[in-house]
């Protein structure tokens, strides 16, 4: 992907260039989604339009404000380290797509050794 190129007003975050077809293909790969050519066209136009609207936010000078990840001041939620019943393994495995020997079964993850 192309890095941000256009500088915004002083103190604002740099305003990125417009999202293109290659960006959509790259992001879909990261998100593990396969897109048809038609979907790439459609999503490029739609995501571009949403990001155009977001340009009002990108252009604001907010360097004096700290980002908020959350609406309330989060404290670390701690509890005593005491064993307690958890979900039944049989019930959890019963809803899995594929199971073998009390484990989730998946296709091979790495290639065959040469």
């Amino acid at each position: 992907m192309t890095p941000p190129e256009v500088a915004g007003p002083p103190g604002s975050a740099a305003v990125p260039g417009r999202l293109g077809r290659d960006d959509v293909v790259h992001v879909a790969t990261l998100a593990r989604l396969a897109l048809s050519d038609e979907e790439v066209e459609l999503f490029t136009a739609q995501l571009g339009s949403i990001l155009d609207h977001a340009a009002d936010v990108a252009a604001l000078d907010l360097a004096h404000l700290a980002p908020s990840s959350h609406p309330i001041a989060l404290r670390n939620a701690l509890r005593p380290d005491v064993p307690a019943p958890s979900l039944s393994r049989d019930e959890v495995l019963a809803v899995a797509p594929d199971v073998e020997d009390d484990r989730f079964r998946v296709p091979r993850i790495v290639g065959e050794a040469p």
Partner: protein, 477 residues
Amino acid sequence: MTTAIELAAAVRAGTRSAREVVEESLAAIAAGDAGVHAFLNVLGDQARQTADAVDAAVGRGHDPGPLAGVPVALKDNLCTRGIETSCASRILAGWRPPYDATVVERLRRAGAVVVGKTNMDEFAMGSSTENSAFGPTRNPHDLTRVPGGSSGGSAAAVAAGFVPLSLGSDTGGSIRQPAALCGVVGMKPTYGRVSRYGLVAFASSLDQIGPFATGVRDAAVLFDVLAGHDPRDSTSLPDACPPVAGDVELGVDDVRVGLCPDLVDGCTPDVRARVHQAADALSAAGAKVDEVRVPEFAYGLSAYYLIAPAEASSNLARYDGVRYGLRVEGEDAAAMNTATRTAGFGAEVKRRIMLGTYALSAGYYDAYYAQAQRVRTMVMRAFDRAYETVDVLLGATAPSTAFALGEKADDPMAMYMNDVCTIPSNLSGHPAVSVPFGTGADGLPVGVQVLAPALQEALLFRVARVVEAHAPTEAGS
């Protein structure tokens, strides 16, 4: 329709059986839901069993609780043990969770009877319930219109008279906007007031479960049942949570109400007129109404549509075909993940996952995600400033009455604009409620929104009750 309060009182007193109440609800659903499609799954057998257990408790002299025998519908993103919970997505179709959401346990302890799971926009992403993988819900007031969303099924189920109460979730307005479009009460509590344990995550810093009801008093009773600390949700507030239902009728004498043009001016003229009429009613009832400008709200929509997709792209990474839900086979694990997600997610979910992935990716994080988080800080400070001079804010819930099915389906940005008045309270984590207040030029319901500072639910319901009591009862009045 009989209120939930009246139904529970009759069941507790033994003058009506829970079984009879639930049979009436199931019969109404059977007669009317083919046209509305509020429900994905009606749980007749379980509901009858629960009702019989409530009646048995009453027979033994036990009190089943404040919602004894009251039929309740649940949005299908609330986990119900052994009962399909799909989030209206193909990727979770047929999934039966191995546990109940905390709110489901709380409803059961209060004597409520769950009669079904309601339709929604897939993973709560949408404002019309057209994004359901299982077909749209229709507005009971006009079947050619949308019910709003994403909790459109829960709003429609109450509006159609199928159930007196239902639960939804509100990430950017998904309880309040469908409540407005369907002419019912819908309320988003303070973030952390109601446990999110067992709510399938969309955007975790914004999501909150809340009640739908036909009236404010019923909504307050249901809120009291839902609210309280839960150690299984690390964002659940530890603060004491005194009941609010007893304060609903205290009135608005000397309450300072801020009529907020930034939550009104972008709406259609008929909606604007109703909000001003509600402000006049509050003033006549003893409140001190002043105009309060909060121009920062204008940036909420853009910030929300960066923050929520960013969190969603992370939360929805769990749908990988390994532990639950759909799997589409592939030659290796990565191909299986991609084939599963490509087949399992609908277009709006894919759009938001990609938008969020993009906003979080190297080179764009600061310009989009971090900047949106700074806007969030800006909006929170703007609320703080407004609440230095007023106790609550008043505005519209949605920019217009219900629109036609398909009208905005091909234009994501036009759809997102529906949330412009509701989003600020999600960014700040504050409570807000939509109250039906007459109709628009087309005869369809209009919702007026009351917003309050964090943890001020008692005041919120008081003001909402006065608005409700002065709502025009006939079109054009």
